[in-house]
Amino acid sequence: MGSEPERDTICENDWVVLQSSDGKKVLGNVTNNSSVRIGKRKRKIGALLGKHWGDTFAVTAQDFLQPVADIPEETPDEKDMGTARNNQHLQDDNANQTLRQSAILKLKEAGVHGESLVQTVVKHSSTFHSKTPFSQHKYLQRKRAKFDIRVRVFKPTALTVCETYFEKSPEKTMSLRADALGMVLGYSGVRSGARVLLYENCTGLLTAAVAERLGGNGTVINVFTGHTPPGIEIIRMLNLGETRMKTIAHTPVELLSHVHEREVEDDQPLKYGPREGQEAGGTANGNNEHVPSAKRAEAIAQRPKRGEVKRWIRRGCDCLIVATRFDVVKVFDVLLKHVAPSGCFAAYCTHLQDAADLQYALQLSKMAIRVELMEVNMVNHQILPGRSHPAMTDSATGGYIVSGIRILSPNEEEPEEQS
């Protein structure tokens, strides 16, 4: 059915998501010599090649990654809020540390690293032994996170990439959180084989997520303005592979005004300028500079023909997804009419005012039913023996989703329908 088998091991040029033991995530592109920033320094990640997804690695003194059995203790026991209240110790560990920063640096240079460095630091803490076992544990964990960094490698999926961007650069993905992504994909009815009309300002994250859900069958019609798809660099980070990349049709918005016309360019692939090497499909390399011109020509040839995209749109799209910084009502004005009746749509908005405008406009339009405005709420919980509660500090919002089902408004219906 066109979907490629998923590879179990990491290959040259694969993108990876590396998660440190403190939960922080970072994206990297794996080559023999590539490196990513983990903790405060760049680390060589060549050792990932050939390893399995889910494997864990330690950072060596030489800033290499090196496979290890597992991360020692996965879930840190957090502070017991109930009792800690009554024994507030001095939190400033450095004041009680007799080992100077320069000494630690020297130890590191001498090759002391990882757990042995942690133990040396502990030995030099004047307060470690006066701490409660609970505080000792916390102290050790902090020091391990600092001196004995472990990372786990994850597949770059819509989920892990979404979470990485949400943590590190939410402005690039409109702060799209994983639960909002899930609801957009669910309420818009994306499924393998569907024609999905899409307008997004999430740097390609939604395009890639839809392509992942299509699994090689169907089409994402990613509508863009301008002469080239702007900001879609996340797409190449999902290791989508050729089959799934081919389901993405970046489509200039002007095409929408010509879907019912015949044009001379209809036999030719969609025309738009290249950018950032995303042409090369699943094997796009991370350095995004010189794409060989032959390869580029090939990539252009693989684009769907303009006439074909027009035919798809003429027949009606199954799903519509919008996530825009612009006027979402205007975007719906232009796109909703190309959704086939009974198709689903979902718009992601970061502000209630936009979502409210859209909800209201759709209610008046008679082009949709079951229009709902949902707040995307997610509460994280700490679940530990005797110390369970919602997260003390949490992401405040996942934004808003307006969903509904396209119907033919009375004015759109042909008279013969009223039989």
């Binding site: 899930g182 009815g189 084989g193 169907g218 909703l336 909800q359 405005l373 997610m378 004015n411 759109e412």
Partner: protein, 394 residues
């Protein structure tokens, strides 16, 4: 929930005899219907001919051929027939059974990283609402293997999936006591994801380890926090990683156009006698009747130049008086005598909300490494060893 073949060039889908469709009467009244030639549907809106739908695209008005039998309405009404989706099916079932809410199953599907080709093991099936959402995400090449202890419910779910033409993706296994016998028929390390909606997920650790592939994800659905505590303890003991517990309260909003009038504060600068100020202000602050508002909106719509008479443009002229006014202003059009009170959109949550559905706990299965200490699982619990018999799924 039909899936296109890859070479399908995308003709607009039409309803066929035998298809299940959703009949949308109004927001709170959704029913399901299997199309049969020459059959009729009778409801409060009239008598509807199936033949009007067969061979036609869905999502249009389905007009009644005659008024309702009760005769309470003078003219025949219409409803909408829609293609089934897991969300619509769930809402259609909402009044008669417990469901996994659509927003929950959407979030679960995303956090389980489901995609075409994924294999999901689910226990128990229940109403099938989560199964349908998972099936949509993994079709056509993936599988959802769902276990339901109760035969009656399993049979209902099987019929449901059959009517939705999902049987090639979804198989229901009935009557297996999963706690005792395990996920019978599921091969070792074959599942990309497991979804547990059972009373004692914390007793299924070894089953999870057996069927999940390394790095595969489990999600447990637990209404009470005490159950979550035991589940997390089990998952930590089994060295699952990336533990996470979330809840997803659902808050929905309504948006209305509202006339925002000022109390009689405008007259403050001019000195009026108390009585006069009071009487004049009380008439001034009277909200106009609905009739007046509608009339005003009509006038506005007429006065505004409609440059683009497509449905979309029509929509934007009527989409909220405030927007209209502002954009007319922005385009430098003088709207003359259409002087309107301040009208704006107001949103607020509906009074009550689905504050809690369940705690969702996610965790990933660790890789098996020879040097691990948890190789002696029997020391860790009362869970019986994994049965290896290979029953076929029904």
């Amino acid at each position: 929930m039909r899936h296109y073949a890859p070479d399908d060039d995308g003709a607009a889908a039409v309803a066929k005899e035998g298809d299940l469709v959703i009949v949308h009467e109004r927001y709170t009244a959704l029913t399901t219907l299997t199309l049969q030639r020459d059959a009729f549907l009778n409801n409060r809106y009239g008598r509807f001919s199936h033949n009007h739908l067969i061979g036609k695209p869905l999502g249009r008005r389905w007009h009644a051929v005659s008024t309702a039998a009760s005769g309470s309405r003078s003219c025949a009404g219409f409803v909408h027939a829609l293609a089934p989706t897991p969300e619509l099916m769930s809402y259609a079932m909402l009044h008669r059974t417990q469901i996994v809410y659509p927003h929950d199953s959407a979030i679960i599907a995303a956090l389980l990283e489901l995609r075409p080709g994924s294999v999901v093991v689910e226990c128990g099936t229940g109403s099938g609402s989560a199964s349908m959402a998972f099936a949509r995400a993994v079709a056509p090449t993936g599988r959802v293997l769902t276990f339901e202890y109760h035969h009656v419910r399993a049979k209902a779910a099987r019929q449901l999936f059959q009517s939705l033409q999902l049987s090639h993706v979804l198989s229901v296994s009935a009557g297996v006591d999963v706690l005792k016998d395990g996920f019978v028929g599921v091969q070792d390390a074959s599942a990309d994801a497991v979804f547990l909606d059972v009373p004692a997920p914390y007793e299924m650790g070894h089953q999870l380890r057996r069927v999940l592939r390394p790095n595969g994800t489990v999600c447990t659905f637990s209404p009470c926090v005490e159950q979550v505590g035991r589940t997390c303890a089990m998952l930590r003991k089994m060295r699952f990683h990336s533990l996470r517990t979330i809840t997803a309260p659902l808050r929905t909003y309504e948006t209305r156009e509202q006339l925002l009038h000022t109390p009689a504060f405008d007259q403050l600068s001019s000195h009026l006698s108390t009585a006069a100020a009071a009487s004049s202000s009380s008439t001034r602050s009277r909200p106009p009747s609905i009739g007046e508002r509608v009339a005003k909106r009509r006038r506005t719509a007429v006065a505004a130049p409609v440059t683009n008479p497509t449905p979309a443009a029509r929509k934007s002229t009527t989409a909220g008086a405030e927007r209209m006014a502002v954009s007319a202003l922005a385009h430098g059009q003088h709207v003359g005598r259409v002087l309107r009170p301040k009208v704006r959109l107001h949103s607020k949550p509906f009074c009550t909300m689905k504050g809690h559905t369940s705690y969702l706990t996610f965790a990933r299965r660790p890789r098996d490494d020879a040097q691990r200490e948890e190789q002696a699982p029997h020391s860790q619990g009362q869970v019986p060893s994994v049965p290896q018999h290979n029953c076929t799924l029904s």
